[in-house]
C-alpha cells in the first residue's frame, strides 16, 4: 500500500554528547601542569634558546625533542586581547572579561587565558598582568583562575628548574559536554511516527523499486531520494540471528536471548530486532515472526513467532 507523503513537521529532541577523555601527559606537560598546582610556572627552552610558555615536548621549528625546563614569572605582558562581553558556559569567568594572550616575564611566547578587568577601556595591548591562582588546584590549565591587572615592571628572568615535584600529575581528564537538538529529517520522522501507531513504513526507490526499512531517504544503490511510502509487515521472516550471552548494562533482558535480522513482508532490506516468546535455542532461519508492542512503546519491544510454517529459504535468501 502507498500512503501520502508525510507532513513537513519533523521530530526534534535534545541530544547530549558527553565525554570524559582521560589523557596522559608527557614529561614536559606533566611538569608544567604539576607546577601550576604548586603555583610555579614552567617553560621549556627551545633549540634556539627561546623560552616557550606553555611548553611543548618538540621544538616547533626543528622538531627536536626539548626537555630543558625553566621557571618564569607569574607576571607578564598582554600581547593581544579581545573583550568578551557575554561569557559562554564553561569559560573561565562568568562575568564579562577579556581573552588575552600573555607573554609571561622570562618567556618568549604567549599563553591564552582570561583577564578579569573592569571593562574594555581598562585593557590594552602591552598592559601588565599577573596570574590569579585558583583556590583549589589539581594540575590543570584551569589552576590559573585568570589574569588580573598588575602594576609592576617586567622583572623575572627564566631560571633553571628540574621540573621535579612530589606527587606529579601524570594525566588529565578532559571533560566535555555538547548540547544538540537532533532532528532525524523527513524520512526517518515518518518512520518513527508510524511506529508510534504500531505501523511500519518503508520507502520505495523510484528507480530500482526496492523498499527500504527503516528508510533513510535515499536508495544506496541508485543514489536517489526514496519518497514513496510503503507500509510493510507486520509479519516477517528471520533471515539470520545470533544468541546474545552478555547482559548489557541498564538493559532489563535476561540472557541468553536472540537478536535477529527480520525481513518484514514487502521489505527489501532486513531490520534488527529481538526475538521473544520462544526458547532461544529454537530460533531458526526462516522463522515467521510478528512485532509485539508494549504499553506506550514507540517501537516494537520484540518479535514473536506467528505460528505459521517456516518460509522457504529461496523466499528470503536475497535479504540475508
Amino acid at each position: 500500500m502507498t500512503a501520502a507523503a508525510s507532513p513537513p513537521e519533523v521530530l526534534r529532541a535534545p541530544l547530549v554528547v558527553e565525554f570524559p577523555f582521560t589523557r596522559s601527559l608527557g614529561p614536559v606537560q606533566s611538569a608544567f601542569l604539576t607546577g601550576l598546582r604548586e603555583r610555579v610556572v614552567l617553560g621549556v627552552r627551545t633549540t634556539e634558546g627561546t623560552v616557550m610558555v606553555p611548553p611543548v615536548e618538540y621544538d616547533p621549528v626543528t622538531a627536536e625533542e626539548i626537555r630543558e625546563l625553566v621557571e618564569v614569572g607569574a607576571t607578564g605582558t598582554v600581547t593581544t586581547w579581545a573583550w568578551n562581553g557575554a561569557p559562554r558556559p564553561n569559560q573561565p569567568l562568568a562575568t564579562p572579561f577579556a581573552w588575552v594572550l600573555v607573554r609571561l616575564d622570562g618567556a618568549d611566547t604567549a599563553i591564552l587565558h582570561a583577564l578579569d578587568a573592569a571593562g574594555p577601556e581598562a585593557v590594552h595591548t602591552g598592559m601588565r598582568v599577573r596570574i590569579r591562582w585558583a583556590e583549589e588546584r589539581t594540575g590543570a590549565i584551569t589552576d590559573i583562575a585568570c589574569f588580573e591587572p598588575h602594576d609592576g615592571p617586567e622583572a623575572a628572568q627564566a631560571t633553571a628548574h628540574d621540573g621535579q615535584f612530589a606527587d606529579a600529575v601524570t594525566g588529565i581528564v578532559a571533560e566535555a559536554r555538547l548540547d544538540y537538538t537532533y532532528s532525524p529529517g523527513r524520512s526517518q520522522t515518518a518512520y518513527i511516527n508510524a511506529l508510534a501507531e504500531h505501523r511500519t513504513v518503508g520507502e520505495r526507490c523510484p528507480s530500482c523499486h526496492k523498499v527500504y526499512v527503516p528508510p533513510r531517504g535515499a536508495c544506496p544503490t541508485c543514489g536517489v531520494a526514496t519518497t514513496d511510502q510503503v507500509e510493510v509487515g507486520p509479519a516477517g521472516t528471520v533471515t539470520t540471528y545470533c544468541i546474545v550471552n552478555i547482559k548489557a548494562k541498564n538493559l532489563d533482558i535476561e540472557v541468553p536471548y536472540v537478536y535477529a535480522h527480520i525481513a518484514l513482508d514487502g521489505a527489501d532490506l532486513a531490520l534488527h530486532g529481538r526475538i521473544g516468546g520462544i526458547p532461544y535455542d529454537q530460533v531458526r532461519m526462516g522463522l515467521r515472526v510478528e512485532p509485539v508492542w508494549t504499553e506506550g512503546g514507540r517501537h516494537p519491544d520484540h518479535y514473536r513467532p506467528t505460528g505459521e510454517p517456516d518460509a522457504d529459504y529461496d523466499a528470503y535468501k536475497e535479504l540475508i
Binding site: 519533523v10 554528547v17 601542569l33 573561565p92 611566547t109 584551569t142 548540547d179 531517504g217 535515499a218 543514489g223
Partner: protein, 355 residues
C-alpha cells in the same frame, strides 16, 4: 593543456554545485540535504554515479553530534555496487586535494568531491572549541569568535586595519552576495553589536547548513565534460603551529608558502576566492597572497555571506572554477582554511585556456 603544468597529469574542475545555505534545515537529514547537490553536479557533466572513478567527502561528526555521520550521506552517492571512496574529517577542500592526488597517481580519471555542514543542531561556537589542544586550550572553551577577535586586535594594534575597514569588508562581501542566490546573507546587512570586541556581528560569518560538490577530471576527459575546464595549475596546503601564542597572528606564512608552491606569484590573478570566515582574516590573506586592488576578491560574497562549516572552503574552489567556466575569469586563486586563526591553509590556482 596549460603550458605551465608542473604535475604528471592535467586535472580540472569541470562542474560545481551547491545548496542554498540556510540558518536551519532540520526538516532534512544530512543525506537529504546533500543528495540534490550531488544530482546537480552529476547532471552538469552527464556522468552517472557509477562512472565516477573516485569519491571523496569532507565533514565533521562534531557538527551533527553523531559518530561516523558521513557514512549516511554515502547513500546519496549510490555506493552499491561498491565504489572507490574516502573521507576527510575536514573541509571538503582537503577532500578535493586527496581526489586530485588520486587522479595524479593515474588510479582515476574522474572524481566526485562533496562536503557538507549541518551546524544548526548544536552551538557551533562551542563545538569548534573541541578541535583545540586538549591540555592548554580546550578546558578554557575559547570559542571561534573569541580567537578570531584576538587576531583582529593584533591587526589593529599593528596598524594593519581598523574597525571601519573591517566593517567595509563585511559590507562589500554581502553586497557582492546580492548576485549569489545560494548565499545566506545578501545585500545591506547591519554591522551589529560587538560579539567579541573588536569583532561585530557583521565581521563574523553566519551560522548555517549547506553542502557543495565538485567534479574533477583529467586531460581529454575534462575537455569532453566541460566547454571551458578550470585547470588546477597549482595546489598546495600548509599548517602552522597549533599554539596561538607561538604565531604572529597578523601574518599567514602557511598561506604564503602554499601560494608559492602553487605558483600563484608567477603571473597575475584576476580573481581571488578567499575562505575568510572573519573580516579580519581577509586582511591577513590579502597580504599573504599579495593581492592588489585590481583583483576581484570574493565576488560570491565569501564566507561572510555563507559559511557552511566543512563546505565553505570547497565552495571557494567551486566558485573560482565556475567563474572560469563562464569566462568571467582567466586565472583565479582559491583558498581554504581550517582550524583557529587560519592555522591550516590550502591554496589552488585555477586557469582557463584562451578562447
Amino acid at each position: 593543456m596549460p603550458a605551465t603544468s608542473r604535475y604528471a597529469r592535467d586535472v580540472a574542475v569541470v562542474a560545481f554545485a551547491q545548496s542554498d545555505h540556510r540558518r536551519s534545515s532540520d526538516e532534512l537529514s544530512e543525506v537529504e540535504m546533500v543528495m540534490p547537490v550531488l544530482h546537480q553536479v552529476l547532471a552538469r557533466t552527464g556522468l552517472k554515479a557509477g562512472e565516477i572513478g573516485f569519491t571523496c567527502s569532507g565533514s565533521s561528526d562534531y557538527l551533527a553530534g553523531r559518530a561516523f555521520s558521513f557514512t549516511m550521506t554515502l547513500d546519496g552517492v549510490g555506493a552499491w555496487p561498491p565504489i572507490s571512496e574516502s573521507h576527510v574529517e575536514m573541509d571538503g577542500a582537503w577532500a578535493l586535494y586527496e581526489a586530485w592526488v588520486k587522479i595524479q597517481t593515474g588510479e582515476a580519471d574522474t572524481a566526485l568531491v562533496y562536503s557538507y555542514g549541518k551546524s544548526s543542531p548544536g552551538s557551533v561556537r562551542d563545538v569548534l572549541t573541541r578541535q583545540l589542544d586538549p591540555y592548554y586550550l580546550a578546558p578554557l572553551w575559547p570559542d571561534s569568535v573569541a580567537l578570531a577577535a584576538l587576531q583582529a586586535q593584533a591587526l589593529i594594534d599593528g596598524g594593519e586595519t581598523d574597525e571601519g575597514a573591517l566593517a567595509a569588508v563585511g559590507a562589500r562581501s554581502r553586497a557582492s552576495a546580492a548576485d549569489n542566490p545560494h548565499a545566506q546573507l545578501r545585500g545591506a546587512v547591519p554591522q551589529g553589536d560587538y560579539q567579541v570586541r573588536p569583532l561585530r556581528t557583521g565581521d563574523c560569518p553566519p551560522i548555517g547548513d549547506g553542502a557543495a560538490a565538485v567534479i574533477l577530471a583529467a586531460g581529454d576527459t575534462a575537455r569532453r565534460l566541460c566547454e571551458r575546464p578550470a585547470w588546477i595549475t597549482g595546489i598546495d596546503h600548509r599548517i602552522e603551529a597549533h599554539g596561538l601564542g607561538l604565531r604572529d597572528l597578523t601574518d599567514s606564512p602557511s598561506t604564503r608558502i602554499a601560494a608559492e608552491h602553487a605558483g600563484v606569484f608567477e603571473r597575475p590573478v584576476d580573481t581571488a576566492e578567499l575562505h575568510a570566515p572573519f573580516s579580519s582574516q581577509e586582511v591577513v590573506l590579502r597580504k599573504a597572497l599579495r593581492l592588489g586592488e585590481d583583483v576581484v576578491v570574493n565576488p560570491s560574497g565569501g564566507a561572510l555571506a555563507a559559511n557552511p562549516v566543512m563546505a565553505a572552503g570547497l565552495i571557494r574552489i567551486g566558485e573560482a572554477a565556475a567563474r572560469i567556466h563562464r569566462g568571467a575569469s582567466d586565472r583565479a586563486v582559491a583558498h581554504a582554511t581550517s582550524g583557529p586563526c587560519l592555522q591550516q591553509n590550502l591554496v589552488a590556482v585555477l586557469e582557463g585556456e584562451p578562447a
